[in-house]
């Protein structure tokens, strides 16, 4: 699967940042909010006002990726979101409780459904193609990629718009914080969309393979990393960059230790959640980072990326979902 365009909105100044970026000081304490761009060149102001943050971030990154790739009518639109449209869900729930189920307006309900981001993209593009939304926790984005890979295999001329979006709201932050999720790591959010196709022309990176595991042991993770590399004729020393989902929360350390040991001493390790915060579809931000690295752009912790030929993204979510992606330069 070849990526021809990538776009991300994140707590960093990542959107349309042609020269790479340096880390902005994160001032939000244990809550990182996205740095939203001026959308007016991408979306009609009238539409922006009606959209919740997740919708406008998702739509803007999707439109940006399509413009970069020069694609106006993608063969498929595939979205991953773990939490869905929380802001509109919260608004409708609040009104329902306060108004005791009477006199409700439908707008927030309409925009609360999980497929709203993918649907709004289709609506803006007038795109009648395949459209799907995956909502499976920390594998939502990975499932969207898996679907994309199958579509490209089924139809070699497809150009697929694939991405992920999750938003943190005041309410969801408080609730997740009560679960103790952000004691040692900041909460995050973001949207990232990519254009993918089966052939390498004009590609910026190739996603060579993805492995997902559910509640594995450390040995299974190690085997999966090795197998993924071997399948593509690579050894541990061939990887120059590991984008690791590790945070200061030590709960999953045993897994991150194993992967760092497996990939060897050659790879630079970047902890991507230090840039985007913790959220279930954060691997979409990591894939965006891998894509800009493959284009030779810089990011915090890596001032010269010219030597990076292969990168691995590894994420071990506390709910038991692990994913490994192998990315190569084109």
């Amino acid at each position: 699967m070849f990526i021809t365009a990538a776009s991300a909105i994140s707590p960093q100044k990542s959107f349309r940042n042609a020269d790479g970026f340096t880390a902005v000081p994160l001032t939000g304490g244990n809550r990182l909010l996205c740095s939203e761009p001026d959308y007016s060149s991408l979306i009609e102001p009238k539409l922006i006002r009606r959209m919740s943050r997740i919708i406008r971030m998702g739509v803007a990154t999707a439109i940006d990726a399509l413009q970069q790739a020069g694609v106006t009518d993608p063969s498929a639109i595939i979205t991953g979101t773990a939490y869905g449209c929380l802001e509109d869900t919260g608004i409708f729930l609040k009104r329902m409780v306060e108004n005791k189920e009477e006199m409700l307006t439908p707008t927030a309900f309409i925009q609360s459904t999980h497929n709203t981001v993918g649907a709004q993209i289709a609506l803006m593009l007038k795109c009648n193609s395949y459209n799907n939304t995956y909502v499976h926790r920390a594998l939502s984005f990975e499932t969207a990629l898996l679907d994309t890979m199958m579509l490209l295999k089924e139809n070699g001329t497809s150009q697929v718009l694939v991405g992920a979006a999750d938003e943190l709201t005041d309410q969801s932050f408080i609730i997740l914080e009560r679960f103790g999720l952000f004691r040692k790591q900041p909460a995050g959010e973001g949207a990232a969309f990519f254009v993918a196709k089966a052939s390498p022309d004009a590609a910026i990176a190739e996603v060579k393979g993805i492995r997902t595991l559910i509640n594995p042991g450390t040995q299974q993770v190690e085997d999966a990393v090795k197998t993924l590399l071997q399948t593509h004729g690579l050894g541990a020393d061939d990887v120059q960059l590991l984008l690791s989902g590790r945070t200061a929360d030590t709960a999953m350390d045993q897994y991150y230790n194993v992967v760092e040991q497996t990939i060897g001493n050659e790879a630079a390790v970047i902890q991507f959640k230090a840039l985007c915060g913790e959220y279930p579809t954060s691997t979409s931000f990591a894939l965006w980072l891998a894509c800009i690295t493959m284009q030779g752009k810089t990011m915090p912790g890596m001032t010269d990326a010219s030597h990076v030929r292969y990168a691995v993204i590894y994420n071990a979510d506390k709910s038991g979902y692990h994913s490994i992606m192998l990315i190569s330069k084109c």
Binding site: I77, A82, Y83, G84, T89, F92, L93, K94, M96, V97, E98, K100, E101, E102, L104, T105, P106, F109, I110, Q111, S112, T113, H114, N115, T116, G118, A119, Q120, A122, L123, L125, K126, C127, N128, S129, Y130, N131, N132, T133, Y134, V135, H136, R137, L139, S140, T143, D147, M150, K153, E154, Q171, I174, I175, R178, F179, T212, I214, N215, S319
Partner: protein, 399 residues
């Protein structure tokens, strides 16, 4: 990519029955499951009839063998998925690569909406155990753990077409050689959130719904779960009883017209039906029965019937909407209606739509209004269309 995909097991729970046999009996006897709301705590309980599963959460938990703190969505989903797996005779004795692909639109909202009043009153209020299954994926995760499925687990949420898309993904994973067995379908519990959302949209019927009748006024909501077990050809040969049918066609398209309304010319539904037919290699005239999306809203039924005219011209297959029995079960409807379609094929019968006095499609005999036995049924088209323009069609064929 055209390796056959077989259906080896069926599971269903809805307002018309707790298992496939009960569901089928109600369809045969013309007994709808729509009535005043009894289990959901809502101010609208005597205003809008609904197709509730006739069991309390305590009774469902007991059937699941669970503690009673889980989302109703997870319990309904587990019961139907378990029935489907048992029906297929897959018990873990052979190590098939097995996946669970579920679909839901509400996830654990039935519990979240109990948490919210306490939370809104005080940010530290409300029991956290009522939101642990809020995420759609958390509901599937609970089901997967109980079914002991670990190879692949995923959740689709494309509103009312969700479970048709779950079935599509399952079939494609088998065709791509990634899995041998997939339990695919969907589950949704009735919640105040959805009931009030649909009420705000003013598309609920205060009487019993009349899908594809000219007098239709809106939809009744339902709840339930429907799952089918998809298997590869190799697994189908292994199993002790013959598979029910093959999934020969599927397609997903987007109407790209409006966030909630369907286009007047039925673009999305036309493309979904056309794509499914093309994949199956069948002619329109090969379709013996259409299980309609048929929600009973003015908009859906007009759009869907227009799209059907565009595909089938004047040679219309017989058709009905079983939502006149179950109500609209949202993300579960594609799964439930797949089960009904496959049962109709197994029993060689046509399932009726209820309460039709002036059919939208007026040609004699097209709208099936009573249970009809002894009909050769080889190919069935099942439609599921949803908010966000998401339209999917599936074609089931006799083996």
């Amino acid at each position: 990519m055209s390796a056959p995909v077989y259906i080896a097991g069926l599971g269903a729970i809805s307002g018309i029955g707790n298992d496939v046999a009960e569901n089928f009996r109600a369809l045969r006897e013309g007994r709808a499951g729509l009535s005043a709301i009894r289990y959901l705590d809502t101010v609208h309980k005597n205003t809008f009839p609904a197709g509730e599963v006739k069991s309390s959460n305590e009774e469902l938990a007991e059937r699941c063998g669970w503690m009673g703190s889980d989302s109703r969505t997870a319990m309904l989903g587990y019961l139907a998925a378990r029935e489907a797996l048992d029906d297929a005779g897959i018990n873990g004795s052979v190590a098939y690569r097995t996946g669970l692909i579920s679909a839901t639109s509400v996830g654990g909202m039935d519990l979240t909406e109990h948490f919210y009043p306490h939370f809104l009153a005080n940010n530290s209020g409300g029991k956290l155990r009522q939101v642990v299954e809020h995420e759609c994926g958390a509901v599937t995760e609970k089901m997967a753990a109980a079914l002991q499925v670990t190879d692949f687990v995923s959740t689709v949420s494309t509103a009312c077409s969700s479970s048709a898309n779950a079935i599509m993904l399952g079939a494609r994973m088998i065709r791509n050689g990634l899995l041998d067995v997939v339990i695919a379908g969907g589950t949704d519990a009735l919640s105040c959130f959805t009931l009030n959302g649909f009420n705000a949209l003013m598309i609920l019927d205060q009487q019993l719904c009349q899908p594809f009748d000219q007098q239709r006024r809106g939809l009744n909501l339902g709840e339930g779960a429907g799952f089918i077990v998809l298997v590869s050809e190799a697994v189908a040969k292994d199993l002790s009883k013959p598979a029910y049918a093959k999934l020969t066609g599927y397609a997903n398209a987007n109407d790209a017209y409006h966030q909630t309304a369907s286009s007047p010319d039925g673009t999305g539904s036309f493309l979904a039906m056309k794509g499914a037919l093309e994949m199956s290699g069948l002619q329109a005239s090969d379709i013996d029965y259409i299980n309609l999306h048929g929600t009973g809203t003015q908009n859906n039924d007009a759009s869907e019937s227009t799209a059907i005219r565009r595909i089938f011209g004047n040679s219309l297959p017989r058709m009905s909407s079983t939502k006149s029995f179950t109500g609209h079960t949202l993300a579960a409807c594609g799964g439930l209606e797949a089960v009904y379609s496959i049962k109709a094929m197994e029993q060689q019968c046509l399932l009726p739509g209820l309460r039709i006095s002036k059919p939208v499609i007026e040609e004699e005999g097209v709208m099936v209004n009573e249970f009809t036995n002894g009909i050769p049924v080889k190919n069935i088209l099942s439609n599921s269309f949803g908010f966000g323009g998401n339209c999917s069609s599936l074609i089931f064929s006799a083996i």
